[in-house]
Amino acid sequence: MTKLKKAIDIIGIPRLIIGLFFIALVITALAVGLTPSSLFSDILRRWMMYAILVLAMVPGVQSGIGMNFGISLGIVSGLLGSVISMEVAYVKGWFFHFGAGAAWLTLLLALLIGIVLAAFVGAAYGLLLNRVKGSEMTVSTYVGFSAIAMMNIVWILLRFQNGQLRWPIGSGLRNTASLQESFGGLLSNPDVYSQSRSIAIPAGLNEAGSVTVQQPKALSFLAIDVGGSGFVLPLGLIMVFALCCLIIWLFLRSKKGLAMSAAGENELFAVSNGINVDSMRILGTAVSTVLGAVGIIMYAQTYGFLQLYNAPLMMGFAAVASILIGGASIERASISNVIIGTLLFQGILTVALPVVNAVINVSALPEIIRIIITNGIILYALTKARGGRR
């Protein structure tokens, strides 16, 4: 009996309930006749798609700024990197000059711009958070909202030429820009490697105004359709996530990372050991923001669309809820929390939609469940944090 109690204590009651709920949902899904291969394929894809965004919470929490609701700053950095990269690729006619490699170049440039931007923005944001110790979460929520709102103005004022990005008529960028003619699906979609794509290029480069591009078959291991069953193993995406996890894992065990965790755990203890708490917090915030930028680019490449304007507004909330479901608290978080939490959170949402449709056919219900779970779990965590704050 005590052993059982101990086990429950380790897993945590909320995680246990949500885990059982998830399993029950999966069983129901199979019982109502959903195809297992596509169901598990979807779960895996969504899991990996959100995982890096959730991972971005870890350095923030460890450095002591609490849940980084301001992850939106990283998200908009990543989005800005992507649109700039896509525009450059189009204007310079990369696909005409480099063929299939252009998609990879675009992805790399997007990551590069996103990471550099996010590092600077994150450091500046860390400076601000050092000034508002004790109310980081409230401030960061609204800093995140403001960042999204400010970028709305930027999106609408940007005058780009890439037809995928701008509205056919009028000005500004589209709400959702397709990545079909860019880096969409490189790491997760088998179709990219089995079919060729026709990609528009600026006028004057060739007669047709477009080029046909086929990704090399040699790279098709990045997205495997296992045995043609419909179960897709997005190996590329998994590798990127694993790489990010590895980097963060090594970072947290490095001298700097240990100092950072110490600063987050006990400020006074850290100071007495000669750790500069403020700069550690800036480091944590910057790393978190950079991961946010990488995360949104990976999200977009999996999803196949770049979502601008208000779409990323509540993404921070979903990431926070995911890691909390995974067993993190506002004071402590680990990579295993990320992996478990994202699986449970995204898994439930992925399975809930077809199940609900099959059982009671209320199309709005999954979205409602998402809202209730996301915010319910954050509320629960807030009540558990003693005094509710750091």
Binding site: K133, G134, T138, V139, Y142, N152, I372, N375, L382
Partner: protein, 506 residues
């Protein structure tokens, strides 16, 4: 905070005018920046002054009550209550029920109040319980709670109504029989049910209320629980006479209206200010109260007189004459302002203020901290609920899934624009804030269109400002509270008080 005020006022005579101006500018920086933005936006929009003025006063009547509902939790040290969304949800449930049952007009609104208030009390109680579990993090809790409650609300309106709760009327229910339509039209039912109350009805209502109070007091007197004083009788007689006056034909004629002109209202308000100041000069004639400043009272009188004189300038006069105000909403707003002010002098108000300054001190002096905070949240939730009723009846259409979402956000932003902070907010800051914030709302799309050739830019700018002003105010507040950088070692050596300091406020 209140102590600071006290000190400032006492010290004032020693401070030069330049210094005083500097403090004034510093304390009202947010508001002043907004005045400038609004003015520039107004110029850029090229809107007509009378259109803008009319729209501003409509929005003041519509939104002020909700913003004023934020003040009590601030007093109790709980910061800005983002949880008022839940009060709004209570109001919307009631409005839907009333409209669905086909009730209309003032009686429909009365029923909505009767349904919404107990709901809001229950919700407020739950919110307060939660806030007591997350002391120091009320704002983030309230914010998340708003989203959480929205999820439950959607569950109720989109899934349960029609499926579990029987409802079939196709006017309100989505084809297919489950869920409420996106928009519920209140035209012909609750629209303007509060705005359209005539002055004469208001007078009758006042008479009835006072009569009931007097009757209760008489009963208490007879059952020897409370002494019936001459003052009570005087109140009844006074109101009776006032009501009698309304039967004089010359006056009666003017009372069958539901709107009064701004010029009349403005004169009344200015007269009220002047009389109040004159009375306080009279009351403090012996100069006992050190916090009282006669110069202030005199300047209020002078300003009132000048403002009244200005209404005789023809261009200003026509501008002001173009605005007609609904009576009851403004009376209710005035009433709430009086309530917010009055509560400061009650025992509850004192308790709230002590709790707001320090939970520990309050607990030590025998105040039940949790209970006081609970009452503050319940009051705020109920008031926000009534505020939403006023808002919906004026708007006339009820966007089922959107009307409550921005309530907390906009109310908080408006209050902060008026110069309030997380720890201090006043009636006048609320009203100034609503005016400026909504002025920006009115002019931003047109200004965006003229400046960038796209109304959407103004729209986004407006949203950016409402988020940005909250972020900035919260950051500035936290910044001021924190000790200057580099004092880590200092706070280490005096860890005790430093921790106590951070624990007591958020």
């Amino acid at each position: 905070m209140t102590n600071n005020n006290l000190e400032n006022r006492v010290l004032k005579p020693n401070i030069s005018i330049g210094e005083r101006l500097k403090t004034f500018l510093f304390e009202n920086k947010v508001m002043l920046v907004f005045v400038i933005i609004c003015y520039l936006g107004y110029l850029a929009s090229g809107s007509r002054a009378d259109t803008v003025l009319n729209e501003v006063f409509t929005r003041i009547s519509r939104n002020s009550f909700t913003v004023l509902s934020l003040l009590i939790p601030v007093l109790a040290g709980m910061g800005l209550n983002f949880g008022i969304v839940i009060g709004a949800i209570a109001a919307q449930i009631a409005v839907f029920a009333v409209v669905y049952w086909g009730l209309a007009g003032l009686s429909g609104m009365a029923l909505a109040v009767l349904i919404a208030t107990p709901l809001a009390i229950i919700f407020g109680y739950l919110v307060g319980k939660l806030f007591n579990m997350t002391k120091g993090a009320e704002m983030i809790t309230g914010l998340i709670l708003g989203y959480f409650a929205d999820g439950l609300y959607q569950l109720l309106f989109l899934v349960l109504i029609g499926r579990v709760i029987p409802a079939t009327n196709p006017r309100f229910i989505i084809d297919g029989g489950v869920g409420v339509k996106n928009v519920v039209d209140l035209t012909g039912t609750l629209k303007y049910s509060i705005d359209r109350v005539r002055i004469i009805d208001l007078a009758l209502g006042l008479l009835v209320i006072v009569a009931v109070i007097t009757a209760v007091r008489l009963y208490l007197h007879l059952s020897k629980k409370r002494k019936f004083t001459l003052k009570d009788l005087a109140l009844m007689v006074g109101v009776g006479i006032l009501y009698g006056i309304t039967y004089i034909p010359a006056i009666e004629r003017h009372l069958y209206v539901e709107r009064i002109n701004l010029i009349v209202a403005l004169s009344l308000v200015l007269a009220l200010f002047a009389i109040k100041s004159a009375y306080s000069i009279y009351k403090n004639r012996d100069g006992h109260d050190p916090t009282y400043s006669r110069g202030r009272s005199i300047s209020i009188i002078v300003i009132s007189v000048i403002a009244f004189a200005l209404t005789y300038v023809p261009s200003i006069e026509t501008l002001i004459m173009s605005v007609e105000l609904p009576v009851l909403p403004y009376v209710l707003i005035g009433g709430l302002m009086a309530f917010n002010k009055g509560i400061l002098n009650t025992r509850l108000g004192h308790n709230m203020r002590t709790v707001g300054q320090s939970n520990a001190v309050a607990a030590a002096s025998g105040i039940n901290v949790d209970r006081t905070r609970l009452i503050a949240v319940i009051l705020s939730t109920v008031l926000a609920c009534w505020g939403q009723l006023i808002y919906l009846q004026n708007l006339g259409t009820f966007s089922t899934y959107g009307a409550h979402m921005q309530v907390g956000q906009f109310a908080v932003a408006a209050l902060l624009v008026g110069g309030a902070s997380v720890s201090k907010a006043t009636n006048s800051q609320a009203i100034i804030g609503v005016t400026l914030f909504h002025l920006l709302f009115i002019i931003a799309p047109q200004a965006g269109n003229n400046l960038f050739g796209d109304a959407q830019v103004g729209e986004y700018f407006r949203v950016f400002v409402s988020y940005g002003v909250i972020a900035l105010s919260l950051a500035m507040h936290a910044w001021q509270r924190k000790k200057p950088a580099g004092s880590m070692m200092a706070s280490l050596s005096q860890a005790g008080p430093a921790i106590a300091e951070t624990e007591k406020k958020e």
